[in-house]
């Protein structure tokens, strides 16, 4: 004979499901504070800074550079953006913002330990020449602002995964990506993420760190 249906069992099953769903929701939204991946990423980073692996870059001046994560890395605090040089929207706006920031930084010796870094995620198009054009266009001075591309696709994929940067095809031969300013210490810790249109806030925050001097 079939066992009788039970209200207790139904109640326990329903409550367990609600409990599990609530826990999953709490975790994925970072305590109900963010509903999009980009927002949650910006909340998670300061609370639990991810440790980025050493990244080898090739710069617009043709040299090899490791900005963070190993003994080659000079003590510095980096304001990092991800871009591609053909980009007509966010990245050129970021370029203009960084150009302005570079001018502002020159006026204050407190910024000596802060570096700007634009990393291209389009190695297929952004060789040294393309990077050089971008750097010249935005008057990047190599001792303050480095324009570079990761040494290999594997390194690029890793830094994207570790930072939470997602680059997708925009359907017009370009890319769509989450544009932001990432604050990375030379030990490889990603400590803050600022919106791409608040570079001043990023600079002001970087100045408060002892590494900036």
């Amino acid at each position: 004979m079939a066992p009788p249906a039970s209200w207790l069992g139904t109640a326990i099953a329903s409550c367990t499901m609600i409990g599990i769903a609530a826990a999953a929701l709490w975790s994925v939204t970072f305590g109900l504070r963010g509903w999009t991946a980009e927002h949650v990423r910006r909340l998670r980073v300061p609370a639990n800074p991810p440790q980025l692996r050493a990244l080898r870059l090739e710069t617009s001046t043709g040299i090899s550079l490791v900005p963070w994560g190993n003994r080659e890395a000079k003590p510095r605090i980096w304001l990092v953006t991800f871009m591609y040089t053909r980009c007509p929207t966010f990245c050129s706006a970021l370029g203009v913002e960084f150009e302005r920031l570079q001018r502002e930084m020159k006026t204050d010796p407190r910024n000596a330990g802060i570096g700007l870094l634009s990393i291209s995620f389009d190695p297929a198009h952004d060789g040294v020449q393309a990077l050089q054009r971008y750097a010249t266009e935005h008057h990047a001075e190599p001792d303050r602002w480095i324009v570079a591309v990761p040494d290999s696709r594997a390194e690029l994929a890793r830094v994207e995964r570790q930072t939470g940067v997602v680059v997708i095809d925009d359907g017009f031969g370009g890319f769509a990506h989450n544009a932001a300013i990432h604050v990375v210490l030379s030990d490889g810790r990603l400590v803050r993420i600022f919106d791409f249109n608040e570079p001043e806030a990023a600079l002001a925050w970087a100045r408060t760190r002892p590494e900036s001097r």
Binding site: V28, W35, A37
Partner: protein, 199 residues
């Protein structure tokens, strides 16, 4: 003789159901990256396909397992709760993104929709019209609201999907909500009139 025939039909239909479930599952696995490359295909094609795969698999479950499940599914309450939670959770942009970037999240998505599909028919059978109205109505307004939000937000909600596909997903969700509401009414109104012949 009659019993014998019934049993054969049942076995066959079980086998067919299993086959349909496995086939749908295979199709999803084969076309997974294509389905998930577009937000509208992900939410409006892959999610329903997963439900169908679950639905078919449920038909193939042995009677005893179904009885065991139904012991804790009075009036379909637990089943409907599970389906509602699953539908709601995977409409959250950050959850949808996570299903693309993390293996365990993707597995949870497949498993929860398959299970939701398995629970749907038995829960409908067990639920009186009032219970059905509550859960169907709840799903309809939730889905329509999310659909409208996807359309009215100027911001790209998922890092993996462009705003264009977000817009068409929003339109699709509203259409799905309306379609399910109409379909359920078409089924429920005659059923209600059958039960209340005096009306």
């Amino acid at each position: 003789m009659g019993t014998h025939t019934t049993r054969i039909t049942l076995t066959l239909s079980r086998r067919q159901a299993m086959l349909a479930g496995v086939l749908t599952g295979t199709v999803i696995l084969l076309f997974r990256s294509w389905l998930e490359a577009d937000m509208a295909r992900h939410m409006l094609v892959e999610f329903p396909l997963l439900l169908v795969a679950g639905l078919a698999t449920a038909k193939a479950l042995p009677e005893r397992t179904v009885t065991l499940i139904m012991r804790s599914n009075q009036l379909g309450l637990a089943g409907f709760t599970f389906v509602s939670l699953t539908a709601a959770y995977w409409m959250i942009p950050v959850a949808l993104d996570q299903a693309l970037s993390s293996g365990p999240a993707a597995a949870a998505k497949y498993a929860s929709f398959l299970a939701a599909g398995m629970l749907l028919p038995v829960s409908f059978q067990a639920a009186p019209l009032a219970m059905q109205a509550f859960f169907v109505g709840n799903w309809v307004w939730m889905t329509a609201t999310v659909g409208l939000l996807y359309q009215s937000t100027p911001q790209q909600l998922c890092v993996n999907y462009l705003i264009g596909t977000q817009l068409s997903t929003g339109e699709g969700l509203v259409a799905a909500a309306v379609a399910i509401a109409v379909l359920w009414c078409v089924y429920a109104v005659p059923a209600y009139l059958d039960m209340n012949p005096n009306m």
